[in-house]
Symmetry: C2
Subunit: 142 residues, 2 copies
């Protein structure tokens, strides 16, 4: 997503396009990492050293409200943020919480049929699959 499009989106929705918000967008909307708040805060601080953690939280909620990303709560109490809001599978490690996207044409086709069956247009969806990631399997004592 172009920076100008993002600015336009903020304005269109009646929000200010502050440099803090744009710095957060630049990082998180391009990220493939499903980053945590802490990852986002630390990364954005490089470019914008005075940014507050409160601003990061507030901006992530705003981006979620206007549909630019999805918050993924996890059972270790640490949320991750996903800029891909279209139907796709997140492969999530049960141990460390790492998230990987799984793209699937088949899923997309299936999903549109499922949504037809539902009878309403969802505000969003979350499709997770759980396993232990390679790193965690390797270091597993069992």
């Amino acid at each position: 997503m172009e920076i100008n499009q993002i600015i336009a989106k903020f304005h269109e929705k009646g929000f200010k396009a502050t440099p803090q918000r744009l710095a957060i967008c630049k990082y998180v909307l391009l990220s493939k990492d499903h980053p945590t708040t802490d990852m986002i805060y630390n990364e954005v601080k490089q470019e914008y050293p005075t940014i507050s953690l409160a601003t990061v939280y507030q901006t992530l909620h705003l981006l979620s409200d206007i549909g630019l990303l999805q918050e993924l709560d996890s059972n270790n109490g640490i949320s991750r943020y996903d800029p891909k809001t279209s139907p796709h599978i997140n492969i999530i490690c049960k141990k460390c919480g790492k998230v990987e996207d799984y793209e699937s044409e088949r899923l997309e086709k299936f999903w549109s049929k499922i949504v037809d069956d539902l009878g309403f247009k969802p505000l969003g969806q979350r499709i997770d699959v759980y396993r232990y990631c390679e790193d965690c399997r390797r270091s597993r004592v069992k």
Copy 2:
């Protein structure tokens, strides 16, 4: 699930079948409500008044570990517990967090194909669809 099967499951996995655990199971494994910890605690207290909240948390984690239920973390910070661990859709209200099951033969068929594509057997899955529930739509100011 029969109470004797549950007791057997605990023993099989090497855990004690305590009355606290059985009281929790009796409530949560039959529940269609995707109850929160608090709902479970308050309900089980009726039957077992001296139970501790710590025991409820510990038991829910145990049940999750042995695959009898799934924890659903939500963005309001309050987890819900789902005794249905097979692939199905949870229709979740974005406002109040209420969860409703959506049963779908089509989904089950689709899902097995998706899993084949994945190339590994998941430890579990979570398929959510978001909307505002009827109650919340009704009381919505917008």
